[in-house]
Amino acid sequence: MTDERTASGSPEASGNHWTDALSGRTIVALATVGVLGLLGVAAVVAPESTAGGLFGVIVSTSTLSATLRLSVPIVFAAVGGIFAEKSGVINIGLEGLLIISAFSAIYGADVTGSLLAGFVVGVVSATALAGLFAVVCIEFRADQIIAGLAIWLIALGLAPFLSQVVYGGPNTESVGTLGTWTVPVLAEIPLLGAFFDAAPPVYLMFLAVGGAWYTLNRTAFGRWVRAAGENPRALDTAGVDVSRVRYAAVLLSGALSGMGGAALAFNIGQFTGNGPTMVNGKGFIAIVAYLFGNYNPVGALGSTMLFAGLDAVQLRLQTQQIVGVPDSLVQTIPFVAVIVVLALVGKTRIPEAAGEHYESGEE
């Protein structure tokens, strides 16, 4: 996967869990490469076989573009989750933030007639919900896990409720989709051309990952965020308000998830609110993605692309009857992958003070 060194930015990565986590990550990385290699060999030896066909599906420009497209909401939520958890607030409500922004982005676009305005509405609403979560956790010392679940359940009820109010059903009307930005020449490259012929949120995603990495590791705010999660008392002693840093980090997680949710909705130009809604667990997959990526935005991108890649392959397999396995079973692949990865990674070294309320001594 991606380089692990950058993740060791946290000063006191205690060796034990770290090596454990690393070995789990290595296993997954090796397994991924191994499976791809085997399929590749099969494709060369017997191009007509199932394995050969599968390799053809995996290594294709359209699968890569689908992977990128499917990665967008997960990566945004994961990067947001990194900020929140690094600052000491475990935000398990990312799913809810994605749901609320997916709906409000469509609603905003429908009312204003502009996708860009809709995007902004999505970001604002997710940030507002994250703000509520922040107040509840930081001001009223709620249990973060339970409050996060509440945020998810509120959004899970509220978005279809509002859709029903406005559109008379759990699904909204269609507002149109974002087009693609194509970089001339580069888009023609076989396979990798997918990186240069994508919807705007895909480029924004790479920007967000780079920006988040830089912010966390190279700026004063990044240091504060990490200190608020690792050693809030030291940060307090240094004269920085821990609560304010945590508020900023949680609001940032809302804004980033908002972008993810809006991008997800604009993919198909509609919000669908039946059952688990169109977000369908992406917020929870994002949590596993950043745990697996060891709180490193680049690592989170890598692990997301693994999950999203499996999802993309799964979607392609449904349309092309290459493997004789029923759709429902194939659809479980990404979820099972998440469980397997989590079991392999085991305990991650979460920030020392994550989940704890911090009370400044001055009060």
Partner: protein, 436 residues
């Protein structure tokens, strides 16, 4: 993978010297989500029953107030032919009072109007929902007491429901009549418990032996369960005469017999009685058995439990298995009492179970009252849907709000302090321990 870091021995007296809630930043256990959960469970355990009931009630009232705002805002956004209120350009389509009237009185079958009978159809629906919610609430509560957050009750219920339906369909042809009922209903419940227990054992083993966070694994397993049962039913057990994804119907004698209530109402007093009996059983298990003691100790003081000889991984596995089995029983009752077959798209009883448990402070007996409240809300939402234009998803929003408010007892203490300012000092210092 599991190493010594799993239950890093925190100070055994953690939390004893200052029964302070999460306020105390020094709590060593708080370094993991489940550690936080333990701290929370500790807070809940030290909160008096009276205070807990007060918090639950206040949370309900506050959620309804916020719900009112949502109804009004929704009513302004919505367009309708006959608004209940018109102010200049604004039209209000929904009447919040009518909504809550339908939600509560509607669910009970209008007890204030004349000729009310406890056997009325809507009240039967309320009790039916209550019965299933008791089981899902117990499922979540049992895990919670062990310091484990089982979000997977929904999936365990789905697996249990399908297991029950398939098992009973397989055995039923060999039996008939009252004898058939006497055998099939208990056997069906047992099969459901096995199925759900197995499905709960998966995240249990993953947590116990691979240290995988159960919040995530159980949520993922919910998705897997939904997809797996859809595959199993469509590809192997589909009722050929039906458009819906469902199994064949169980024979009448394989279902819970209705007592007093009209059989068409899909409610059986026997099932409710069974639910109450299980509540007693779980209460006894938790409070009066060695296993229950181990479980509670593991939830509150994992380090002390380990020191006292509790096999922590085994307790984790056993708790989640048992929790899953209760979820499976919920599924079995859903099949044997309500549906009479298995059909995909099981309602979200599992998620409601989280609310029921949290509202009840994870107390099995409290879960009965919380389940009744939620039974009213769920049953009432169908009345609301029928009688008003307000979308029934409102209850989903209320569910989330209630959890949110219950999660922040500090908020209510703050209000309490505002009302009684003389209590400020002790309340500040000792938090939850003031039970007056």
């Amino acid at each position: 993978m599991s190493d010594d870091s799993e239950d890093r021995p925190g100070p055994a007296d953690d939390g004893d010297d200052g029964p302070a809630p999460p306020a105390d930043g020094g709590a060593d256990d708080g370094t993991s989500p489940s550690g936080r959960l333990r701290a929370y469970a500790l807070t809940m355990a030290k909160t008096s029953a009276g205070e807990r009931a007060l918090i639950a009630l206040s949370a309900l009232v506050l959620s309804m107030l916020v719900g009112t705002v949502i109804i009004v805002v929704g009513g302004v956004i919505a367009t309708c032919r006959t608004p209940v209120l018109t102010l200049a350009d604004l039209t209000l389509c929904y009447d919040p009072i009518a909504v809550y009237d339908r939600l509560f009185f509607g669910a009970l079958g209008d007890p204030l109007s004349g000729g009310w009978s406890p056997l009325n159809p809507q009240f039967a629906v309320t009790l039916r929902e209550t019965t299933i919610l008791v089981f899902t609430g117990l499922s979540v509560a049992l895990a919670f007491r062990a310091g484990i957050f089982n979000i997977g009750t929904q999936g365990q219920m789905v697996v249990g429901a399908l297991s029950t339906a398939l098992g009973v369909l397989w055995i039923a042809p060999a039996l008939s009549g009252v004898g058939g009922t006497l055998v099939l209903v208990p056997v069906g419940i047992a099969i459901g418990a096995l199925g759900g227990g197995f499905y709960g054992a998966i995240p249990g083993a993953l947590k116990a032996y691979a240290d995988a966070n159960e919040v995530i694994t159980t949520i993922m397993l919910n998705f897997v369960a939904t997809l797996m049962v859809r595959y199993l039913v469509t590809d192997h057990f589909q009722d050929p005469t039906s458009q819906a994804v469902q199994t064949a119907s169980l024979p009448e004698y394989a279902q819970f017999p209705a007592v007093l209530f009209d059989p068409r109402l899909d409610f059986s007093l026997l099932a409710l009685g069974f639910a109450v009996a299980v509540v007693g059983g779980v209460y006894y298990l938790l409070e009066y058995t060695t296993f229950g003691f181990d479980l509670r100790t593991a939830g509150l003081q994992p380090a002390a439990a380990e020191y006292g000889g509790v096999d922590s991984p085994r307790t984790v596995l056993a708790s989640l298995t048992l929790s899953g089995a209760l979820g499976g029983v919920a599924g079995a009752v859903y099949v044997l009492m309500v549906l009479g077959k298995f059909q995909t798209g099981v309602p979200s009883y599992g998620f409601d179970g989280i609310t029921v448990s949290i509202l009840a402070g994870n107390n099995p007996i409290g879960a009965v009252f919380a389940a009744l409240l939620f039974g009213v809300l769920k049953s009432g939402s169908t009345v609301v849907d029928f009688a008003t234009d307000v979308p029934p998803q409102l209850v989903g929003v209320l569910r989330g709000l209630i959890i949110l408010f219950v999660a922040m007892p500090e908020f209510f203490r703050l209000i309490g302090r505002r009302i009684q300012p003389e209590d400020t000092e002790p309340a500040r210092a000792t938090g939850a321990s003031t039970d007056d």
